[in-house]
């Protein structure tokens, strides 16, 4: 219900940006904790499991037990170990893809937004056309064309993902470019480069941060999807998507598919929680992807 408005003149006190950790509550804390755990585990893996992910260490196709928490797969490897090792592939890959996409997208978007004109039109048509494809189809096509493998899959994913950030940056640049303090800087002779660096880019990091956090989970999913098809990580690499493929083949040994799936779920959920909380606190509109 609308409360009555009080006509006491309010002075606008600029809100201190020191309240940076305001978003950290509820699910976001869970998310951060989970992500931290995954990163720690991935970095210190041998500490967490006695088994080698690539070696047969037990009888094949055994269900979960005390010695093998998620059982063994068709080659006798410990499923739990392999599920943990999957993080060593997925997390760095996703990080590289996102960073690359952000960098490329930022450059393209900033150029388009700042210089406008035909450059803007040309770049944005490219963006539109790239985004006209279902992302997975495009990634599949590119990876198939380049040859299956995790490296080509990464290239494909970067090519699929950069347009989002290009659009985002361009919108930000255009919005900030019209502000008065930018005009005044321009008037006193600040170079384009300086304006871009000092004013525009720092103001843009918020939506980029929110989007890239949420995109992290999506990229992890995409990696898994490509591997599931056979275009990403190749066996015997313990990648989650590839493990799910094995799980599909050994349908009745549910643990083989369950472990990697849960792993993916935990990572994606964690990033979604964090991204949601960040978005709510910065009140940023979601990019349409």
């Amino acid at each position: 219900m609308t409360a009555i408005s009080l006509t006491q003149p309010q002075i606008e006190v600029p809100v201190a940006r020191r309240r940076r950790l305001r978003w950290l509550h509820g699910p976001a804390i869970v998310g951060v904790v989970v992500i931290t755990l995954w990163v720690l585990v991935a970095l210190t893996l041998p500490l967490w499991t006695p088994f080698d992910p690539l070696e047969a260490v037990g009888k094949r196709l055994q269900g979960p037990s005390a010695s093998h928490w998620m059982g063994t797969d068709a080659l006798g490897r410990d499923v739990f170990t392999r599920a943990l090792w999957g993080a060593r592939t997925s997390l760095p890959v996703a990080a590289v893809v996102i960073v690359s996409a952000v960098v490329i997208g930022t450059i393209v978007g900033a150029l388009a937004g700042f210089f406008g004109g035909w450059l803007d039109a040309a770049l944005m048509r490219t963006v539109d056309i790239t985004m006209a494809f279902p992302p997975i189809l495009l990634a599949m096509a590119i990876t198939a064309g380049l040859g299956p493998g995790i490296r080509n899959a990464m290239i494909a994913m970067v090519l699929v993902w950069w347009p989002i950030y290009a659009r985002l940056l361009r919108a930000q640049v255009i919005a900030v470019r019209q502000r008065e303090y930018v005009e005044s800087a321009w008037a006193i002779g600040a170079s384009r480069w300086l304006i871009l660096r000092r004013y525009i880019l720092p103001m843009s990091y918020t939506p980029v941060l929110v989007n890239s956090t949420m995109d992290f989970g999506q990229v992890v999913l995409l990696v898994a999807q490509l591997s599931f098809i056979g275009l990403g990580a190749r066996p015997p690499s313990p990648e989650w998507g590839a493990m799910i493929t094995e799980g599909a083949t050994n349908f009745y040994q549910w643990w083989i598919a369950a472990a990697p799936g849960v792993a993916i779920l935990l990572v994606v959920l964690a990033f979604n929680f964090v991204g949601d909380a960040l978005r709510d606190s910065f009140d940023v509109k979601e990019s349409t992807r």
């Binding site: 219900m1 409360a3 009555i4 408005s5 009080l6 006509t7 006491q8 003149p9």
Partner: protein, 329 residues
């Protein structure tokens, strides 16, 4: 102008407190008001005086506010009334119209549909055809031309004045006995203002409707109402019939308001204003809340909050002025 001796609406010691992150805020601090059938009562005050909140409270339309005290409609206690029962009173016995006609109507439904929704919420047996017929009739009553065509129009096709008329039509659709109008003309052009006020008067006369007019504009009050209640800082500080209140106000705030009205018969007039800023519910002074801005202030004003006392033909909550009156009579 009051006929029956029983008030149709009786408000007794109504208090409304909002809970905010910085503590409880007393927006309304004890209102007593009576409204008689068919009369026109003006509730005057600045933003923040609590005038809208009072009405919203008695209709049960405030969320997150603590409402205590009593507000009786024909004997039925509204405060704390079960929401379903309150809903049945709203829009059918006691109606309310609001300030901004541009946003008060749903942009994606036709006028006729919105009118019939109001009707059929209170008369569920009304057929669609009958509702439409009545909608056209109502639009005609509020002086909208080509009512049948307008029935199928969308709000954005109508001007502000027309939309306000539509709102009035919605409010009277179920033959209410009390109509609360919260600043109905503030958002309209001056000429349209006069038309709307005239419409309200006509409707009052035709349907024997009691009108509570909430406004901050004393100019509107003079021609259209019988009694006035002046509110400040969540309380009624003066109440009385229109003429005596205008001629001999008993509260410094009322006097200030009247002095601020521009006059046509004085040359080289200096625009007066009441010094200071309106008090906020969060920062109420001890004693009389108007004291920081009052030119009659005395030390006793800063200790005890004055209550309504007779001042000529009005009741005013000012210890200084009522004493003066008493002494001089």
């Amino acid at each position: 102008m009051t006929d029956a001796l029983e008030p149709i609406l009786q408000i007794n010691d109504l208090r409304v407190t909002f809970s905010t992150p910085s503590g409880p805020v007393p927006a309304v601090r004890g209102i007593n008001l009576d409204v008689y059938p068919g009369e026109a009562l003006a509730v005057v005050g600045e933003s923040g005086s609590g005038k809208s909140v009072t009405m919203l409270a008695l209709l049960g339309m405030l969320n997150g506010a603590a409402v205590t005290g009593s507000a009786r409609y024909r004997g039925t206690e509204l405060v704390g009334l079960d929401p379903a029962a309150l809903r049945m009173i709203r829009g059918s016995k006691v109606s309310m119209i609001f300030q901004d006609p541009m946003t008060s109507l749903n942009p994606v439904l036709t006028i006729g549909k919105q009118l019939s929704l109001v009707m059929r919420s209170h008369q569920p047996d009304l057929s669609r055809a009958a509702a439409r017929a009545r909608a056209i009739e109502l639009l005609d009553q509020v002086a909208i031309s080509q009512p049948a065509r307008r029935c199928d129009s969308y709000p954005h096709e109508l001007s502000g004045g027309m939309r306000q008329r539509v709102m009035i039509a919605m409010a009277i659709a179920n033959y209410p006995e009390v109509l609360i109008a919260d600043e109905p003309t503030t958002a309209l052009d001056v000429t349209v203002q006069a038309q709307i006020m005239e419409l309200l008067s006509d409707l009052r006369a035709e349907h024997h409707l009691a009108l509570i007019l909430i406004t901050h504009d004393l100019g509107v009050v003079a021609g259209a109402t019988d009694r006035v209640a002046v509110m400040y800082a969540g309380k009624v500080v003066e109440t009385g019939a229109v003429d005596p209140l205008f001629n001999d106000p008993g509260h410094p705030y009322t006097r200030g308001l009247l002095e601020c009205l521009p006059r046509l018969d004085v040359r080289h007039e200096v625009q007066a204003s009441i010094p200071g800023v309106p008090v906020t519910p969060q920062s109420l002074p001890i004693g009389c809340p108007f004291s920081p801005r009052c030119k009659y202030v005395e030390p006793s004003c800063l200790e005890v909050e004055p209550v309504l006392a007779p001042h000529g033909e009005t009741m005013a909550a000012c210890s200084v002025l009522t004493r003066v009156t008493r002494v001089s009579t």
